[in-house]
Amino acid sequence: MGFEKFGRKSFTGITKTAKFVDFLEEGKVNGTVCKKCGAKYFPPRADCAACFSNEMDWFEMPKKGKLETYTIAYYAPFGFEADCPYTMGVAEFEGGLKLFARLSKDLKPEDINVGMDVSVKPVKYEDGQMSFEIVRA
């Protein structure tokens, strides 16, 4: 339980990585790191694909990244229509970890460029849902 609070609308209720949402509440965007072999994952995983261990720790995502690509959605799937238009993108962080998320509403389309410096932070929606978004660095 707990993961239904993730995102604008969650499609998953139960996952071993549900603690991710608690970290968002604490202001952290966390991935997982394997205790055995050190492999890092974002989004978080409960199991290590490199060494098969299921002993994972949490780590906080780096703050300095670059926007690799983005799109502005003018149509939305069922349940997201009220948010249109909204922007989503991929940011690459130090160490090569990437993250997919919406971009902050503060970023106007004319201010967004491929390659710009960005960071990531948690966001709480008015209905209590928790997510994270790409923000200007």
């Binding site: 993961f3 799109t71 003018y74 149509y75 989503m88």
Partner: protein
């Protein structure tokens, strides 16, 4: 060139909006044509494989239901899916079944009745088209994912909206002469002009992609009949051989994808495998079908297949090299953009086009010069599954 497994029959329904019949009747349209093409009876078929994207099907476990309607009981049957490349995967599996010696003749039937569910249900499923745990909660849809590739690719490689428009105009050129296509109208520059109030294709869907950059949904079916060498020679005057097969997969989550400006990786890996198996190089291909679910996807496919150097795909459309008379004709049946994209039927339809081209039976779409090698590039999801199949005479 290995001549172990051949295509001996091909069929395809008309691709339409709102098919007036059930999925079994839709499947029968392609099956009938393929069986008549092969000139065989159901007694000659050893097994059947059915392919679709299950989220559009109301019928659970459709293989048994369709096999019965097609008269293929009690032969073994089963179901396969890799979303938009389901029937290419079906052909790959059938190839293995025949090559292993397990069966002599196998039917691969792809179908999709996208209108089987309401548009509200369809919208709901669209939202679950990718990683439902980590991406769907942001409100993702298929055009947005391809737009991520388009944005990065355009920024790096100087590809323009005009280039994308010209891919759409090319596909419409051939959609008009393909009587099975769902979209048969011409497309002109005026359709993409944002200052033209009647422009049908200019509105943004997921920037930088516009309405005209997206393929047409459709209901449809396709059927490919495969046979081993002995049966192919006995049944068919013009067998078309599968000479190369490649397939690969990719991370579903965008966070785990390599450089977006370089296009999709899985189809590139699949192409390398298929070229190696066939013992040919890209310049040996005389006609190709690529998965142009969006205009940008066709440009990326040119590069994945080695028809153009990385970053230079735009030159092929600028030079009209992929038109019917060009150096490497691509999607001269209208492609997904105009012929339509009934998900599970698409790969089989692409294969049918190439088989007809190699037999010299493609009618008004026939590529000149008696092509002897053709290629099909069929992608499932946003590059989640890459499939490349090469055919020879």
């Amino acid at each position: 060139m290995a001549k172990d497994v051949a295509v001996i029959g091909v069929g395809q329904s008309y691709f339409v909006r709102g098919y007036e019949g059930s999925i079994r009747e839709l499947a029968f349209e392609a099956f009938r044509e393929a069986m008549q093409d092969a000139g065989i009876t159901t007694k000659d078929i050893d097994a059947s494989v059915f392919c679709s994207a299950p989220e559009y099907d109301k019928q659970r476990s459709p293989a048994g239901v369709l096999a019965e309607y097609l008269g293929l009981i009690p032969q073994p049957t089963f179901y396969i899916e890799t979303v938009c490349s389901s029937s290419s995967t079906g052909v790959k599996v059938a190839y293995g079944m025949i090559k292993s010696g397990l069966h002599d003749v196998v039917v691969v039937l792809g179908f999709q009745k996208m209108s089987e569910i309401t548009s509200a249900e369809s919208q709901e499923r669209m939202g679950r088209g990718a990683d439902i745990q980590w991406e769907s909660p942001f409100g993702t849809m298929m055009p947005a994912y391809y737009a991520l590739y388009a944005q990065a690719y355009m920024a790096k490689n100087g590809l323009t909206h005009e280039d994308l428009m010209n891919v759409r105009i090319k596909s419409a050129t051939y959609g008009q002469i393909n009587e099975r296509a769902v979209y048969r109208k011409a497309v002109t520059q005026a359709d993409f002009d944002p200052n033209n109030p009647n422009a049908r294709m200019a509105a943004p869907v997921a920037w930088p992609l516009r309405v005209g950059d997206a393929c047409a949904n459709a209901d449809g079916s396709s059927c490919i009949i495969l046979a081993n060498a002995e049966k192919a020679k006995a049944f068919s005057k013009k067998p078309v051989w599968i000479i190369g097969i490649g397939a690969a997969s990719e991370a579903v989550n965008m966070a785990a994808r390599p450089d977006f400006s370089k296009g999709l990786r899985a189809p590139y890996i699949a192409a390398q495998q298929a070229y190696t198996m066939a013992g040919i190089k890209p310049s040996d291909v005389k006609v190709a079908e690529v998965h142009d679910c969006f205009t940008i996807a066709e440009i990326m496919a040119y590069e994945a297949l080695g028809f153009a150097p990385v970053g230079e795909g735009k030159q092929l459309i600028r030079e009209k090299a992929t038109y019917k008379e060009g150096r490497i004709p691509v999607n001269v049946d209208g492609g997904l953009l105009s012929k339509g994209h009934p998900i599970g039927a698409t790969g089989g339809s692409q294969i049918r086009t190439i088989v007809l081209q190699l037999r010299g039976e493609a009618g008004p779409m026939q590529v000149p010069g008696e092509p002897d090698i053709g290629l099909v590039h069929n992608v499932g999801g946003v590059g989640l599954y890459g499939n490349v199949t090469i055919f020879g005479r």
